[in-house]
Point group: D2
Chain length 371, copies 4
């Protein structure tokens, strides 16, 4: 495959470019009999949508998704679910320059050398716009996981540029445009973004996502460990340069006596593991962090070359996110949900009839800290 | 699949447990006509082997690999290459306790809840011993990539526990048991390890790997980006908790004006990207870092539960690595090589006949820094 | 996967039901740089279209395909090609009875027991209408194979019910609604069909397809032999009950001295093999035959049970093909083209750089028979 | 993949050549907790073994299989099961001629043009010997299906060359070297074979296989229909040129009023469908027939060319089966079992929680004919 399909059993195959007629996805492997309507998908699509605050791209897209198949009288049938989102705001007339230019930090140079040509309109296939069908597809997975296992997903920004954002409470997340679990830091973030925009520059972000009540036993050794597939999905999001599970890079300086999470009959004491042991989920919260690089579309000039190899100066004009990380939270949640969904189906394929005397212990001991 | 196969076109399917009769792999998709003998595989196997210094597990394994198929008169035939490594040092008699116990930080609990039973001998399937066939398989990929493109791989330890290890020179790496690119720091590392062993504790490590002269144009948008597949492979290595490409988590606090690597006719100026743009290789060095957690097999006591859910104290006896990261460098190199090999074949499948006027620019400008 | 994707490298993922809002496909893995427009796809879609003669279903469908992605300024970009066909003639109001009934020979019973529910409108997902996106996708493969290798596809009906149809000439095929390579037999076929329709019954058909100038060396031992993948694709067409390659079931009664095709410097003498040896293409014509069962939608009454297990009598009303085989020729060609395309890419992935002294010999010796 | 893996969830990856040191397979995806020992695999291996009658190749092979992994204390663990069979009778010294020759009807020509080189010893990778690991792997699937669903497999020869073999009773099958369900025809078959051998010629065979009590609901529309995957598996067996499901090619001349199997509360009346509707299993017996071509290794001379394109005469010497079909029955059973196993896992992945009021009806009505 050419990389446009995610998953083995619950598969999402996307198509489309930023400024083509439409984008969409085929979601295959959804269990039959689940209620599903377009409204179920629209919630997360709206959370991801551009144009919702002054800090994100002002592109106007309704992002209305149409379900083309796989649902009959409001229930999934087990047939593939076709999803279609028409592009409405295309403005593709003025891409001429971009086609002659390799913008530093952009996919231009790589696409050119791979394919020999590329669709320059809004980034074409490499645009973050292509996360929209993924978010829609993941809403199906989220719904099924919630109904089957009570699994819940949430994410938040824990760092914007140099500013670390302490976790206060989940309830703050949806109340600000940054997905910060911290309503006190918002003015500081607003000021930071405004200055960045004025300077014609951009910054990165650190996003964290969690899955609570994910089933125990998901993940396939050796190579398709749950955390390995999470890393694959996360690193596949535009602009991501790093992925951590649990203690992540902090575990390098930890001692074994500190890192290993102790087990008690009333639950796990800590969660350095981030929800997996040996690549298999333990029932603890899945804890994932990603690093998002500063967007390369900036107004400050950068040196590059053109299609003939001649030196040029590149400077971005027009609408652009100074921090693509601001909209990345629902996307990272979506990726996590898709991986868990796929592995839930894989697990019941192979281990569907395993019976056990010892039930899983709680994810956290009473009183244990959890973000 | 149950996760024991890596790759789409150049596939490695492994089998075996730490203390079973044998471990091995089937390597499928190797192009025909390449010279290959067991000696080609033994080099990296020997670099990964336990028992080579006092800082690593003293298990005695010859790790002699036998090629069972796919080679005729010294050349690969295009048929699958069967690899077999007999386990010689098995000591499996005394696993009784382990079978009743969920060791904190180990795969025991997760395997038990997934499969309902597990092979406790030396960690069974979850043992790091299973990286041996992967290293052997990757030696095939490395050889092909070297012959076709001049691709070279190297890796080194950049942090051991709290000690950061500055990069001095590639030539130092193979001259010490830590794979440190720095011969000055060795006494300090030795002391650190000796104290750790005395304290019955363990520590983590940070490993970096590089691929130089990897082909341009590798990686498949949307989901199977080269960096996404690298993250998948790396996070699949035992004990890995984090993966970075290029600037990694440092990119969060970078500005766009700093992060985007400028292009000149005589090469790239910097390599924050770590060798990929839009998930496709640019010809720059592929730069990957991984975080390895401290091993959970320690002599200090930890609390846990047994198979009946009763509280117990766990304390490891016998041979164990106080830092599994010490032997991880050849494994991380192997994973990187396997991903690049797979994508080299995927790329020539889809884009094999692309012709371009503009040749790729050099990976680095003359005089630019490169570790 | 849930079976809605065909191919490993050139993949076609379809979605849609007979009477939903739309059907379509995502075609992934198409090499970049090929000219492509909707007109290229419409030719085969029109050959497959219902309502083109009195012998096929009178459903009115324009079957106009829209390319949603993967093409920029008239060239494929290497990105997935989204294809959309809106359903215009839906008449879905009166499916109530069907939902309560398991029609003999139909997918109803099997879908019910698999999924617990089904979309009954026009057969839902199991309708032959779903071959339309496959035919459109295959037109892309056909074009690429023609441009790269000069590969040509054709198919014809060689038996309608009890009537065998001797092969006269390829030029006759498109000049009659039966795809018969024989213009003399048409009146007989017309009479046969008229009588069948009057009797409220249906009949089967035997369809043959050929690929000429397919590349040598396609097919992957052991399991994904070219003929194995052809058999998979063909048996996946609605109503197909048998597949033959070359001499097929006739080879059972052949002697080895007769069956083995002799090789001469000026070409192969015969083609009992049907174009493959050891599952790998030889450059001979690929010769495939399929058996299509009589459609189960007939006006004669049949016994069955309803959803409660009660006995009922089933009798089809309304428009239906008395022989679905009549429209099957372009579908079988499409399937053959998709398999060859996929293997062409697979072959250049693994064996792309094989160089040989001996060029392939011609497919047929001068003067040898060929249908 | 390069085609050496069968299945999506229950996968068999084989390696090895006819005269290399060993052949084997990795079986991945086996559910945990099933008792398994080498004795379970040996039964079918012995049924397939050469040298068991004067009508089959006299190669002496013990075909003793060793389980290398995936089993602990007699139970499967969910880890991949490594299977190894050492080649003992190798006689590889005298292959020189074969390497210079393209034997008509053999894989030589195709392998040469695909790979540029080949292992000529005993046919190398294209030898029927490679069915041994497949048969061993399938014994695992058979055992699991029998324990879970009571599924049973049997096969028989229904035609040897020109001689049709009427089905008398299943009990006859294992009592003769032909797997004929007919003990009366054996003398006739013996004579036929003796004459063939004297004439230095070979013949084909028709083999039928059945699965009884296969689960209902297996098979994935659109492309991975159960019958499509069966066709793929069967056509992948050496020398197979045709596959039929149920009425097969006979359905071409059937009327719809005859073909469609009627349903009654006490069972299906007939089984023209061969156990699938819409590509999904109905609980009826799965009925499959395959055509096996006459082996190309004959003592009668045939014309061909050598590696330089020069004309030569080819004549086989030494041990060879005059009818490879004689040993094909256990292989065809094995393939059928592997496909059903894979789909059983796929089905419980997607549809594992479907609950139904109406239970499946019996496979056959009381008194209905069944072979």
């Amino acid at each position: 495959m050419s990389g446009n399909t995610l998953g083995l059993l619950f598969t999402v195959t996307t198509f489309g470019e930023s400024h083509g007629p439409a984008i969409g996805a085929v979601v295959d492997g959804c269990p039959p009999g689940m209620s599903l309507s377009e409204a179920d998908l629209q919630i997360d699509l709206d959370r991801r949508k551009p144009g919702t605050s002054r800090h994100v791209t002002q592109r106007k897209e309704e992002d209305k998704v149409e379900i083309l198949s796989g649902v009959f009288e409001g229930k999934t049938t087990g047939a593939p679910i076709g999803l279609l989102i028409r592009n409405t705001d295309q403005r593709s007339q003025d891409y001429g320059d971009i086609l002659q230019t390799f913008r530093p930090g952009h996919a231009d140079y790589a696409y050119h050398h791979k394919y020999g040509l590329r669709d320059p309109r809004g980034g074409g296939r490499s645009s973050a716009r292509l996360t929209a069908p993924v978010v829609a597809a993941a809403a199906i997975a989220k719904k099924w996981l919630r109904e089957q296992y009570g699994t819940e997903f949430y994410g938040f920004m824990s760092q914007l540029g140099e500013i670390e954002i302490p976790f206060i409470d989940v309830s703050h997340i949806e109340a600000n445009p940054f997905f910060a679990a911290n309503n006190e830091v918002i003015p500081q973030l607003e000021t930071y973004m405004d200055e960045l925009r004025k300077a014609g520059d951009s910054c990165g972000a650190r996003i964290e996502v969690r899955a609570r009540n994910a089933p125990v036993g998901l993940g396939e050794p050796l190579f398709d460990k749950l955390d390995a597939d999470i890393a694959h999905a996360m690193m596949g999001i535009n602009a991501v340069k790093g992925v951590e599970i649990g203690a992540g890079f902090k575990s390098v300086a930890q001692k074994g006596s500190e890192h290993g999470d102790e087990l008690f009959a009333d639950g796990f004491a800590t969660n350095n593991a981030g929800g997996t042991l040996g690549g298999i989920s333990t029932g603890q919260d899945l804890r994932v962090a990603i690093a998002i690089k500063p967007t390369s579309s900036i107004m400050s000039p950068k040196q590059s070359i053109d299609l003939q190899g001649k030196p040029i100066t590149v400077q971005t004009k027009g609408r652009h996110d100074p921090c693509v990380g601001i909209r990345a939270t629902p996307i990272a949640e979506a990726m996590l949900a898709l991986v868990i969904m796929d592995h839930a189906l894989r697990n019941r394929a192979q281990c569907g009839d395993v019976k056990l005397d010892l039930k899983p212990i709680p994810a956290v001991r009473p009183g244990a800290k959890r973000d």
